[in-house]
C-alpha cells in the first residue's frame, strides 16, 4: 500500500512537467463492474505532441485511452471516477454531449475498420453528420485535404468511388486516419494502430503520425517499444492499472526511474 501511494505521488509530480497540456487526468479510476481497471492515474497530455501509452496486455492503457472520447460509454458496467479534462472542460460532466466530444477527439482503432462504402463516402460521412460542409464542392475539398494529410491522396485519387474495404491493410488504416481528421478534431486517439500491419505499412503510418503532430495532439497505445521510442515525445508506462512512470520518451527509454519500467523496456516483464 505504501508503495502505491508513493507512486501516485511521484506521478502527480511528473504530470506537471508537461508544458501546455490539453488533457489533464487527475486521480482517475475506472471500474468494470466490481473489477478496478485503472487505479489513481494522473497524467497530462501535451498539445501538438505524440504521447505513447505502453505496458503489458491488460494493464489498462486502452481503457484510459477510451475514456478520452468516452468510448467506454457503450459498456454498461463501466464506471469512471476522478477528473479528466479536455482543454479545461470536464469530459465526464453530465452536460457534455459525446457527439461533440468525439468530434474533438477522434479515434483510430487496432484493426482497420473502414465502412463498407466507397473511399469518398468513408471520409465524407463524418463531415456530413456533423454538418461541417454546406455544399458538395466543400465536401469534396474536405475529402481531398483529409486524404492528402493522411498521405493517401496520390494512391486513391482516381478511385474514390471504389469500396474502402478493397484497399490494402496499410491503406485502410490511413483511410481510417483520414476519416478521423476529416471532422477536424484536436486530439486523435490511436489504439495500437499498426498491430495489424506489415513493417512497411507500419513505417508509412509512423511517418504520417510524426507529420500529423503539427496539427493534432496524438495519443498512441502501442505494444511495440520501438514504435513508442520512434514516434512519441512523451511516454507513459502502465502496469496492472497503475501509471508506473510518465516522462519524456527520451528519459523513459534511456534513464527510467522505476525498476518496473526498466524491466519492461528491457523485456524482462510483460
Amino acid at each position: 500500500m505504501n508503495i502505491q501511494t508513493n507512486i501516485g505521488g511521484a506521478t502527480a509530480e511528473q504530470a506537471n512537467i508537461v508544458p501546455n497540456p490539453i488533457i489533464e487526468v487527475r486521480q482517475a479510476q475506472v471500474f468494470y463492474g466490481e473489477k478496478q481497471a485503472i487505479v489513481d492515474v494522473d497524467v497530462d497530455i501535451q498539445q501538438n505532441a505524440v504521447t505513447a501509452f505502453i505496458g503489458p496486455s491488460g494493464c489498462g492503457k486502452s481503457t484510459i485511452l477510451r475514456c478520452f472520447n468516452r468510448m467506454n460509454d457503450v459498456i454498461p458496467i463501466c464506471r469512471v471516477e476522478g477528473s479528466i479534462t479536455l482543454a479545461g472542460q470536464e469530459i465526464y460532466a453530465p452536460e457534455v454531449d459525446v457527439v461533440v466530444l468525439r468530434q474533438k477527439v477522434g479515434m483510430v482503432f487496432q484493426k482497420p475498420n473502414p465502412f463498407p462504402k466507397s473511399i469518398f463516402d468513408n471520409i465524407a460521412y463524418g463531415p456530413k453528420i456533423h454538418g461541417l460542409t454546406t455544399s458538395k464542392a466543400d465536401l469534396e475539398e474536405v475529402v481531398e485535404t483529409s486524404l492528402k494529410r493522411a498521405g493517401l491522396w496520390e494512391e486513391v485519387k482516381d478511385r474514390l468511388d471504389q469500396p474502402g474495404t478493397g484497399l490494402s491493410g496499410g491503406q485502410q488504416q490511413r483511410l481510417c486516419i483520414a476519416r478521423a481528421i476529416a471532422v477536424q478534431p484536436s486530439v486523435i486517439l490511436m489504439d495500437e494502430p499498426c498491430s495489424a500491419l506489415d513493417p512497411i505499412a507500419t513505417a508509412t503510418v509512423e511517418t504520417l503520425i510524426d507529420e500529423l503532430r503539427e496539427k493534432y495532439t496524438i495519443i498512441i497505445v502501442t505494444h511495440s517499444m520501438q514504435q513508442a521510442a520512434r514516434v512519441s515525445q512523451n511516454t507513459a508506462f502502465f502496469h496492472l492499472g497503475e501509471l508506473v512512470e510518465f516522462g519524456t520518451t527520451e528519459q523513459i527509454f534511456s534513464a527510467p526511474r522505476e525498476e518496473r519500467t526498466q524491466n519492461y523496456i528491457t523485456g524482462r516483464i510483460g
Binding site: 468510448m71 457503450v74 468525439r102 468530434q103 479515434m107 482503432f109 473502414p114 463498407p116 460521412y125 463524418g126
Partner: protein, 425 residues
C-alpha cells in the same frame, strides 16, 4: 516395444474403411431424400399437368334472330336475356338427331359443361353479327367427357360403373371422327375463380387472395419485426427483461399456426368486428405468425454485423440512431430480407389459421381488395382435395404445382436479394 511406424501402418486400413463407410452413408442419405423428392414432385406433376388442358367440343349453332333479338336492336342487354340454353340444346339435338327419348336427350346435354350456354351467350354479346347466323362454337366439354378424353375413365367397364354411358361414348367417337372434339390449353384455369364445375374452376381467385393476404402480411410484419429486432438488439439494455422477451419470441415461433388462427378469430373478428374471410384479417393473422421468424432472423443478422463498424461510427461522433440506421441496419438488411421472405414463404403455405377466420368459404369472385371475401392457394387446394368430382383431382395437383412454383420463386428472390445486397468487408 513395437515400432510406432508399424502400429500406425496397421491402423491405417481400418481408418480408411471407416472413412469410406461414412461417405457411403452420407451418399445413401442424400439419394434417399432426393428419391422422396422426385417421387413427390413426379406424382404432383403427372397428376396436375392434365388440368392445364381442357376438352372443347365444336358445335354448329344457329342463333335465331326472332328468339334472341326480335326487335333487331342488337343491344347487348337484350341479347343477354335470351334463353341460350334452349338454343344450345336445340343445336345439340340437330347434331345428334338419334337422341329421341328424354333419357337420351339428358345424356346428350351432359356432354357439354353446364356453363356452356354462358360461353355461347358471351360470344354472341361480344359479336352481335352472329345473331341470325349459323356458326361453329367451341364449347367446354363436361368434366366427365374431359376425364374420358384424358384417359381417366375406362370405357371397358360395365356401363353402370362409369360416368359416361354407351350412347355418350358413341357420340364422343362421332365427334372425334369428325375432328370436332379436341383438347386445348386451359386458360380458364389461370384466369378464373373457383367453381362447382371442375371444368370451369380456376386458380386465379385463390392466387389473387393469396397475393393480397401476403401483401398485408408483409406490410405489417416487416416494419414491426425489423423495428422490434433493431430496438431489442441495438438500443434495449441487455438485461433480464430483454432475455425474457427473447425466450418468449423463440417460443412464439414454435406455436402451432392454428393457435394464431383462433387468436385472430377471437380478437380481429369477434372483438374488432373486422370483415371475415378477407385478406385483411388473413394477412394480420399470418403477420402474427411470421413476426417471431422475422425478429429472430433480423436479430441474428444484426448480431453478425462486426462491432468494429459500430465503433468506427461512434468514434466519428455518430449518435446511436445514426450508427444504427446509417451503418448497422444496411449491413444487416440482406439477412433481414432473407428472413422475411422465408417467413412469407411459410405464410404462403399456411392453411390452418386461414380456416379459422373463414377464408375457407366457397368464393367464385376474384377479390378486388383486401376487404373483399377471398380464399388463398393452400385453402383452395384443401377445398378441391375435399371435392368428390373426379375432375377436381387434377385441379388439386395443378394448384399444388402453382403453389410450389410460387414458393420456389420466393426462395429464389431471397437468394438473389442476398447476393445483391450483401457487402463484404
Amino acid at each position: 516395444m513395437t515400432d510406432p511406424d508399424s502400429i500406425i501402418a496397421t491402423g491405417r486400413s481400418p481408418r480408411h474403411k471407416a472413412e469410406l463407410r461414412f461417405r457411403a452413408y452420407g451418399i445413401a442419405a442424400i439419394i434417399v431424400s432426393l428419391g422422396f423428392l422426385v417421387v413427390m414432385v413426379g406424382a404432383i406433376v403427372s397428376r396436375g399437368t392434365g388440368a392445364f388442358q381442357q376438352t372443347f367440343v365444336q358445335i354448329e349453332i344457329n342463333v335465331p334472330a326472332n328468339k334472341v333479338d326480335p326487335q333487331g336492336t342488337r343491344d347487348p342487354n337484350v341479347i343477354k336475356k335470351a334463353r341460350f340454353s334452349s338454343i344450345l340444346k336445340k343445336a345439340m339435338r340437330q347434331r345428334f338427331p338419334e337422341a329421341k327419348s328424354r333419357q337420351d336427350k339428358k345424356s346428350l346435354y351432359k356432354l357439354v359443361s353446364s356453363t356452356a350456354e354462358y360461353t355461347v351467350r358471351d360470344a354472341v354479346v361480344a359479336d352481335p353479327s352472329l345473331v341470325g347466323e349459323t356458326s361453329t362454337f367451341s364449347i367446354r366439354a363436361s368434366s366427365d367427357v374431359d376425364m374420358f378424353m384424358k384417359g381417366n375413365i375406362d370405357p371397358t367397364l360395365e356401363q353402370s360403373r362409369r360416368r359416361i354411358d354407351d350412347k355418350q361414348l358413341a357420340w364422343i367417337e362421332q365427334l372425334r371422327a369428325a375432328g370436332q372434339i379436341e383438347k386445348q390449353f386451359n386458360t380458364q384455369f389461370f384466369t378464373g375463380g373457383d367453381s362447382r364445375e371442375p371444368e370451369q374452376a380456376g386458380i386465379w381467385g385463390a392466387l389473387a387472395g393469396s397475393s393480397l393476404t401476403l401483401l398485408v402480411c408483409f406490410l405489417l410484419s416487416f416494419p414491426l419485426g425489423v423495428l422490434a429486432a433493431v430496438y431489442l438488439e441495438e438500443f434495449a439494455s441487455k438485461g433480464r427483461i430483454n432475455r425474457l422477451i427473447e425466450v418468449n419470441i423463440n417460443n412464439l415461433a414454435a406455436v402451432p399456426s392454428i393457435v394464431f388462427g383462433l387468436l385472430g378469430l377471437a380478437i380481429f373478428l369477434n372483438f374488432f368486428q373486422l370483415p371475415r374471410s378477407t385478406p385483411l384479417v388473413g394477412g394480420m393473422v399470418l403477420a402474427l405468425m411470421t413476426l417471431p421468424t422475422i425478429i429472430i432472423a433480423s436479430r441474428a443478422s444484426l448480431r453478425a454485423v462486426p462491432p468494429s463498424i459500430r465503433e468506427a461510427a461512434f468514434g466519428l461522433g455518430a449518435s446511436k440512431v445514426q450508427t444504427t440506421f446509417h451503418h448497422v441496419v444496411p449491413l444487416a438488411m440482406p439477412g433481414m430480407l432473407t428472413g422475411t421472405i422465408l417467413g412469407m414463404a411459410q405464410a404462403l403455405g399456411e392453411t390452418a389459421p386461414l380456416l379459422m377466420i373463414g377464408m375457407v368459404a366457397f368464393i367464385v369472385d376474384i377479390p378486388g381488395g383486401v376487404t373483399e371475401a377471398a380464399t388463398a392457394l393452400p385453402v383452395q387446394i384443401f377445398l378441391w382435395a375435399d371435392s368428390p368430382e373426379r375432375g377436381f383431382l387434377e385441379k388439386t395437383s395443378a394448384a399444388i404445382l402453382v403453389l410450389l412454383i410460387f414458393l420456389v420463386i420466393m426462395n429464389l428472390i431471397a437468394i438473389i436479394l442476398r447476393r445483391r445486397l450483401e457487402v463484404r468487408w
